[in-house]
Amino acid sequence: MRKMVTGKNNDTESNVIGQSLAHESAIRQLNGKARYVDDIPNLANLKHAAVGLSQVSSGKILKIDLSRVKQSPGVRDVITVSDVPGHIDIAPVFDGDPVLADKDVLYHGQPIFAVLADSAEQARKAALKADIEVKQYSPCLTVEDAKYLKSFVRPKHQMKMGDPSSVLTHSGHTIKGELNIGGQEHFYLEGQVSVAVPEEEDRLMIYTSSQHPSEVQKLVAEVLGTQLNKITVDMRRMGGGFGGKETQAAQWACIAALFASRNRCAVKLRLPRMQDMQATGKRHPFVNHYQLAYDMEGKIKAADIEVNGICGHSADLSDAIVDRAMFHADNAYFIEHCSIEGHRCRTNMVSHTAFRGFGGPQGMIVAEAMMDAIARQTGLDPLTVRKNNLYNTDNRNTTPYGMKVQDNVLSEIIEQLEKSADYWQRRESIRIFNQDNPIIKKGLSLTPVKFGISFTAKHLNQAGALVHIYTDGTLQVNHGGTEMGQGLHTKIGQIAAHEFGLDIDAIEVTSTRTDKVPNTSPTAASSGTDINGKAVQNACLEIKGRLANFFAELCDGSPDDVTFNNKIVSLGQDSIPFVELVQKAYFERISLSSTGFYKTPKIHYDRETGKGRPFFYFANGASVSEVTIDTLTGEYKVDRVDILHDVGKSLNPAIDIGQIEGGFIQGMGWLTTEEVSWDSNGKLTSNNPATYKIPSIGDTPLEFNVDLYERENDEATIYNSKAVGEPPLMLANSVWCAIKDAIASLGDYKLDPQLDTPATPEKVLNAVIALQNRVAEE
C-alpha cells in the first residue's frame, strides 16, 4: 500500500476553495452554446416519439384501437405495454409504475401508448388519434377518500418520544389545528427529454436529462430485457431538476429506448410542456393535523402530529418523502413528549415525487404553524415563542426520532439576524403602521430552518469518482453527481484544483456517465457535493500519494512533506512544476488515473423503533420577511427579506448565495402563487404556465439581504462545508408566517388565522374575512 498524503496544503490559503468562481458553464450558457439534450446536433436518422395520455383518472382499459394513429402521416411505429420485451414496471423502489398503462388507468394523463414518427409534430398529432375505451371507476382524490378506502401506497410509520397523550390529556393549555398544504410543479425550464441511439447489436447509448443516470441505465436495460452493461447513459447538464428528474426522467428514456431498439434508429422523446405537467409527479400535497400542549412561557410541552401525504397512484419515493416530513415536523424545536405519525395516501393522481426538500417543507411548516398558534394564545411575540422552544445544546436536544442535535448554531444565527434585520424596531413600526392603516396591513416574521442532511435510505449515501491527469498537467474529473444548475461541477472542479494546487482552468469536469462511474446515487438530498466531492477528493489523494512518493524518492525526502501549491510540487528546498512532475511520472510508468469512493459515516435509522441518527448533520438558517397585504383583495407584496444561512465553510460563496436566494424564491412560490389544482374528476387544471404561476421577476423582494453564516461544519465533510441545495427553500416559511402576522393584526394579534397554502390572494382574502368574523363574534 502506498502511503496517502494528508491534506497538508489544505491549511494554506487556497486560490480556489472559498472563492466565488463563476459557474463552470456560465460562458457557454450565456452565448447559447451550452448543449442540452434537445440541442445535440447531427444525429443521423433521428425519429421522434410522442405519448398518448389517458383522458380519465381511473378505470379498466377495454379497448385500444391505434389504427388511425398508425395511418397518420409520418408514423413509423406505435407501441403499447404489450410490446415491452422485458420488465414492464419501472418503479424506483417499490412496485407500481408501468412504463405504459397496463390494463388499468391509474391517473388522468397516464401514458397509454407511444408513437414514433419522422417529426415531433407528426408524432404528437398522431397521438391525438387513438380510440381508447375505458370502463371508468370513481377516482380516489383526497386524504379523506384514501383513508375511507384504506388506500395507501405504503404502511404508516410513527416516531414517538415521551408520553404525549397523557400530557395532552392533563394540560390546561392545548391547541388543535389542521393545515392543507398544496403541491408544487417543478417547472424546470427544460422539460423532460431523452435520446436513445442504437449502437452495435443490442447496445444503446442514452442521452437524458436526469438526476439519476444509473437508474435510467438499469430501467432501460430492464424494459429491454437486457444486461446493464449493454446500456450507457450520458448526462451533461439539465435545464433544472429540483427533484422532478430524480425518478421521473426514466420513463421517457425507456420509451425512447424501446423505439430505438425496435427500429434501429436514434429516437428523441421530448414532452411538450403541458404533457410534462400532466404526466410527471409534483411535490406531495399534504393534509396535516396537530394537537399541542404549551405553558405560559410559550414552551411546547407535548404534541401529537399527523401528516398525510397525497402520494398519487404509486409509491415512487413517497415512503421516504413522508418519512422526511415526519423527521422535520419538529423543525428546530424541542418537543419533550411527541408523537408523529405519517400516512402515505394512494390517490388516482400522477405519482408525486421528489421536490427540493423532499417532504421536509410539508413537515416543517407544521412546526411553524404551532409556534404561531402558541404566540397568539399567550400574547407573546412569535419570535419569542420560537426562541423559547429552540433545541438546547446540552439538554432539551433530542429529536422525536432519538437523534441528538449537535452543532446547534440556531440561537446564534437568530440572534445575529434579529439584530441585522432590526426585527424589534420593525415590529414596533409595523404595529404603528397597522394602527394607522385600515385597509393595508403589514406583517413580519422570523423563522428558522434546521434540515437533516443525508439520504434516509442508507445505501444511497455512497459516491464514486474517476480522475485522470494527462501529460500536459490537465485533469479530467468525473463523478456520480449530475449538474442541474446548482454548481456541483464548479465545486468539484474547485476541489480537484485545490488538491493538486492548480488553477480551475486545469480541470475539466466531464458529463456524468454510467461507463465511467457505476452504480451511482441520484443527485438529490442536497448531497451532491458532500458525497461526490469526497469521492473526488479521495481519487485525487490516491494520485497525489503516488506523485508524492515518486517526488520524495527523487528528492530523497519523506512523501509526507510533499506539498502541491500554485502549480508547483515542493519538498523542502526542492520543487518542480506540477506538469513536469506529471511528465516524469508518466515516463516512470506511474499511473495518473484513479477512482475514488466515499460513504457517509455515522448514520443509521431503525424503522421498527423509529429511532436512530438518520442524518450526518443539520444545515441551519433563518429568515425575516416583511409583507404588505391588501385586506380588500388579498393581494400582497413581499417587501423585504433578510437571510442568514449556515453553509459551513463555504466552498463557493457566490454559488451558495445563488442556491439560497433561488431556494427561497422557489419556496415562496410554493407558499404563495403556485397553485396546483385538479378538477373533481382528477384532471389537472393548472396544466400550463398560463394557469400555474411560478414567481416572476417582480416578485423578488425589493430589499433582499442574504448572508452566509460561515462556521466550519463540526463533522468532517468536504473542507467542512455544508450542503445547501434544499434547506434554503424552507426559509420561505417566514413569508407565509408574515402574511399570517399581517392578518392577525386585524384581531390585535390574539387570534391565529387559518391560512392554507398556497396563500393565493383568494386564500388570503378568505382568511382575512374569516378572522374579521371571529373578531366580530367575540
Partner: protein
Amino acid sequence: MLQVDHWINDFMEKRMISFLLNSEEVRLSECQSDITVLDFLREQKHLTGTKEGCASGDCGACTVVLAEPDRASEKLVYTAINSCITYMSALHGKQLITVEHLADSGTLHPVQQSMLEANGTQCGFCTPGFIMSMFALYHQNTTVDHQQITQALSGNLCRCTGYRPIIDATANACANRQEDKFDLAQPVTLTLLDDLATDQAGVPGIYIPKSRAELADLKETFPNARLIAGSTDIALETTQALQELPEIISLSNVKELSTLEVKNNVIEIGSAITLTELENVICEHIPCLSELLWRFASRPIRNQATLAGNVANASPIGDFPPVLLALNAQIVLDDGINTRAVPASKFFTGYRQTDMQEHEWIARIDVPIPNKNNKVRAYKISKREEDDISAVCAIFNLSLANDQVCEVNTGFGGVAATPVSAVKLATGIKGKPWSDIQTMKAGQKILSSSFNPIDDVRASADYRNKILCNLWYRFWLETSQQTIPVKTRVHAHA
C-alpha cells in the same frame, strides 16, 4: 375566378420573406405558413441557443430580438419577442438577432459579461432568453430604473436564481452602457435592411398586404385565411392545440392600419399598433390605465400583440375589452369598401363572439379620453403581479357634478362569458352624493348580484364576486376625497 387567379399570380410573383438572420441575408421563396420562428431557428438553422420552454409565450426561454429601422430617427429599434409564438411573416425586412450573435469574436456582449459577473446563471436554460431581453433593454438608450428592468424582463421566467443577480446584472450593464458591435454596424445593417425591404413580402400561404386595397383583395381571394397581427394568441392553436393554419394574412404591414393618432380627444388606434407602441400615448392621455397596460401579459408579448387582437378574440378575461366598455370606445370595422363603427357595448355578443362579420376586419379602435374631472380607475387582480391573466379586471369611470353622481361607466373581465358592464350600477346610484359611504354601499349591493361568475383554475366565483364589491369600495376610497387619505394598494407603482 380566372381573373382572381390571375391577380393573385401577379401579386405573388417574386415575393419572398427576406430578413437578416444575425448577419446572414435570408430570402425565403417558400415557407410553411405556420412554422414558428423558434422552430425555424432550431430545426432549419440549427441555432439551438434559443430554447423552447413552453411554446406558449409564457416563459421567455425562446426570446429573440428583432431590429428594424425607425423611420423617424433612421436608427435601429430593438424589440424582444417570443419566437415560439411568432410566425415567419413577422421577420420581413428586419434583423432577427439570436443569442449566438451577441458576443463579438469571443468577447462577451456587455449584458453577457454583466450576467457572468453577477453569477446570474444556474441551470442556464432560461439564460439565452434573459440575455436577449436584457440586450433589447440595453439598446433602448435610457437610464433604467428597477421598474423598467422588471418590465423588460417580465416575460422571462427563471426557476433557479430568484432573479436577484439578474436584476443586478441588468442594472449594471445598462448603467455602464458603451457602444457595442451592433451600434458600430448600424449603418451597414440599415443599408442591408433597406435592400431586403425592397423585396415584395410574402410566400404562398403567408400573405403580407401593404394597403387596405391589397388586404381586401387577399381576404376575398382567401376567405379561409386567418388574419394575424402579433399572432400571440392564434399561435397557440398551432403550438398547443396542434392545428394547422395553411393560410394567414398578416395585418402588420398595412399602412392604413398602422396609424396612431389623437384627434378631438379621441385616441384612434390602428389595428396593427402593438401594445408597446400604444404605451406612451396611453400613459400621456389616460395615465390611470398605465398600470393595467404594464401588467398586460409581458413585455415581449406587448411588443407583438395588438389592442385589436385582444378585442377581436373577445376573451372574457382579456384586459382591454373592459376598458373599452368603461370608456365608451368604438370599434371601427372595415370590409374594404365600407366602414362602420360599433360601440364596445354592442361589440361583444357572446362567449368569444363579436358583431364582426366574416368579411370584415378591425380597422381601428377609437378610445375617447375621459374628461379630466372624471374619476377613472383600472384594477386588475391576479395571482401573480406580472404576466398573469386576471381573476377579475375592473374599470370604473365616474363623472360627478358637485359630488352628485352623474354617470358611472364600468367594464369588467372575468365575471361573465363576455366582457361586461354593470348597467344597473349607473341607474342605481345616479344623483346620489359620492362622498356618502351609503352611495358606495348601494353600489356594492348592486354589484354583488349583477353577475354570475364561474369557478375556474384562476379563482372561485365567490372570490370574484367579493373582489368586485371590494374593488368598488377601493374605488370609492381613492376618489371620494376622504379627509385622511387611506392607503389602498400594496404595489409600488399604484
